[in-house]
């Protein structure tokens, strides 16, 4: 029948063990599973925008190609490389934490943070270019109507949008709201990620994490990889459309 057993108190209960968990193993398992589930919710969240993208791209393929052509491929590609590299440094940070090498751990965290901020900086430059080219959709910026025909830098203007056959300004504006919504939401997640990395950095310097207790680093690493993967999808879908139309 029912019998109760007392849990043997841990000889040296780890200071990070929460009171409601039996042991560090259970806590780690719960934390990791929790982060995976959270990432699934993020997939569903971005999924709505991917659905809108799929639908409108199938309706207006030429407009999307025109809009995509105008995005700066160099910036996009560099950002992709930066993020992939940052995922590598993040994974290394997790590894070094697990094996207890604090100095390389901190260096890798710093590198990840720097790469993440680089991404955000390049993104900021891209957004600012769009602003100057009057490509902010809708009435988000009062007095700055969406007008891709405006030439800013004279005849050799590399930013002048060439509307492909079948593309209209109205539909290119649709591409741009999708671009801003998706990359904007992604950038927001990057900013949160940068905040989380800062937290990790501070506590790593205080030697909080080590082989017995590294699940926060692991779990935030998972989050960082997810944000990276979202970008891996966004880059081709937004930047690489219709490049074969480019002269």
């Amino acid at each position: 029948m029912a019998s109760h057993a007392t849990t043997a108190p841990e000889a040296h209960s780890h200071p990070a063990l929460q009171h409601h968990f039996e042991n560090m193993e259970q806590q780690r398992e719960a934390g990791t599973l929790g982060m995976w589930i959270f990432l699934v919710t993020e997939i569903m969240f971005f999924g709505g925008m991917f659905l809108a993208y799929t639908l409108y791209r199938s309706f207006y393929p030429m407009a999307f190609a025109s809009g995509s052509n105008h995005l700066d491929l160099t910036f996009g590609a560099v950002n992709t490389g930066v993020l992939i590299l940052s995922s590598f440094t993040m994974a290394m940070a997790v590894y070094f934490t697990q094996v207890g090498k604090q100095r390389p751990q901190v260096i890798c965290l710093i590198l990840t943070l720097i790469l993440g901020l680089t991404f955000l900086g390049i993104k900021a430059k891209e957004y600012s270019d769009k602003y100057h080219d009057h490509l902010i959709p809708g009435r988000l910026i009062p007095g700055n109507p969406f007008n891709p025909e405006v030439a800013q830098h004279g005849d050799e203007d590399p930013h002048k949008l060439h509307l492909l056959e079948g593309a209209t300004v109205e539909k290119v504006e649709m591409f741009y709201w999708i671009y801003f919504a998706m990359t904007g939401m992604h950038a927001l997640h990057m900013i949160i990620g940068a905040g989380l990395l800062t937290y990790l950095l501070i506590f790593s310097l205080k030697r909080r994490f080590g082989p017995e207790y590294h699940s926060p680093v692991e779990v935030i690493g998972l989050y960082w990889h997810f944000v990276d993967i979202v970008w891996i999808f966004l880059f081709p879908l937004l930047y690489l459309l219709g490049r074969h139309y480019v002269h």
Partner: protein, 554 residues
Amino acid sequence: MKPIESFEVPLPPKVNYINATYGLKSWLLTKDHKRIALLYLGSITFFFFIGGIYALMIRLELLTPQGDFLQSTTYNKVFTQHGIIMIFFFLIPSIPATLGNFLIPMMIGAKDLAFPRINLLSWYVYLLGGVITIYALLAGGVDTGWTFYTPFSTTFSNSYVVATGLGIFINGFSSILTGLNFIVTIHTMRAPGMTWMRMPLFLWSHYATSLIMVLGTPVIAITVLLLAFERVARVGIFDPALGGDPVLFQHLFWFYSHPAVYIMVLPSMGVISELIANFSRKNIFGYTFVAFSSIAIAVFGFLVWGHHLFVTSQSVYAGMIFSFLSFAVAIPSAIKVFNWTATLYKSSIAYDTPMLYALGFIGLFTIGGMTGLFLASLAVDVHLSDTYFVVAHFHYIMVGGALMGYLGGLHYWWPKISGRMYPEGWGRFSALVIFVGFNLTFLPQFVAGYLGMPRRYHAYPPEFQVFNVLSSAGASILGFGMLIPAIYFVWSMRYGRHAEANPWHLPGLEWRTASPPPTENFEVTPIVTWDAYEFAPREETEVVGKFRPELERI
């Protein structure tokens, strides 16, 4: 034989989770899942009354065919806000956030949920969403219908769509965090010996609910966000005048909102399993089938959203697929109803209030579920879509189903939560009043709907008046019936009879600790060697004259 309810009831232990610490801060910054459940209980009851007042206003207006009680613009806001408050701020959190939060750790033998601080955060997020929504209501209200169809909501409505949308968006995170917490808890924190197949069915249904919460809620979040974005930035997402697609909104909206109805009803089904088993002292017939039917409902529930779009010129083949799947999703629910009924065969049924609510649920959910089949059937749905038939159908499930389970569960676990018994006589009386009032309110609406009375009308042709008068009469009885438990639950907290640890003499883990429980739930972690509804000792299978001794003491 000496009756069980002897007068030598030992007083509960001095220190329990309620009086362990004092002060507002100890409650508002608590990490104890039981206190958080009580915080939710208070806020959910508050929102229920607001939603109920809106319902009263609707039924008052509909007493007469003319729109003479409220202006049409006001009426439109009233039914919109009734829907929003009841769905997002009452029904979706009700059982999971109160009973689920309180009981899940206890039922699995844990000290708390996996993430207690996230649990507290979910309550604050709920409150924040609620405050923003109430601000929108007070500032002028929203009149788009709880379904926010575009382009009315993006372009034509002059009401507080963005503020309400923001409130709903934030509230959604409360749902996601709760679901996440439950899934991780059930996976990683079960007591030694508690295998999946030894879990009470309450846990299975909350697990299935949590799957839906976690997968579905983000979709409504992004939908509402895009809606607000379109309204503010005037970009073409859902408004065809700007290049958008209004039916895309409907697909995105219903992709969440259909599974959402399973979020509302699955926890209630879990409660009913507990009530049926425990008040008939018999293991649920077909435990495995009932357990997996919850998962099946969660999975199939994601595949049927198109049945809300049958009349939107959807492709006939898409319509057929959604119709077929909508019939398929009814089957697991039917399996549950049959299993609950079979459980009662040759059992030992007590007529306590919780059992009355469970019996009411089974009857009313059968009607509600089967009228759903009318709406799954394409040809009939064309006629019935957007009529009062639909209103009656979903109220049978939401009130006759989900609310009955909520009330039954509250009564059942009240001694555990508060340490007091509710007055049984009043409990049975109010259950009866609610049952009668509810049926009188919504049964006539089926007939009115087939006759053609559309939804969301504040004035209607006179031939529908007889049904509306019956319905409003029923609503007043229903409202009266629901006031009674509100009063006696509060009364019992001070004057109710003290309850012992296991007042119903049941084998569940939650009954193996004091009423109210201590903060850490269990003195020692239990080791589980018995199935969920094991009433008799394994060796004896005849009717026995004594309870298992260990049920008598903690």
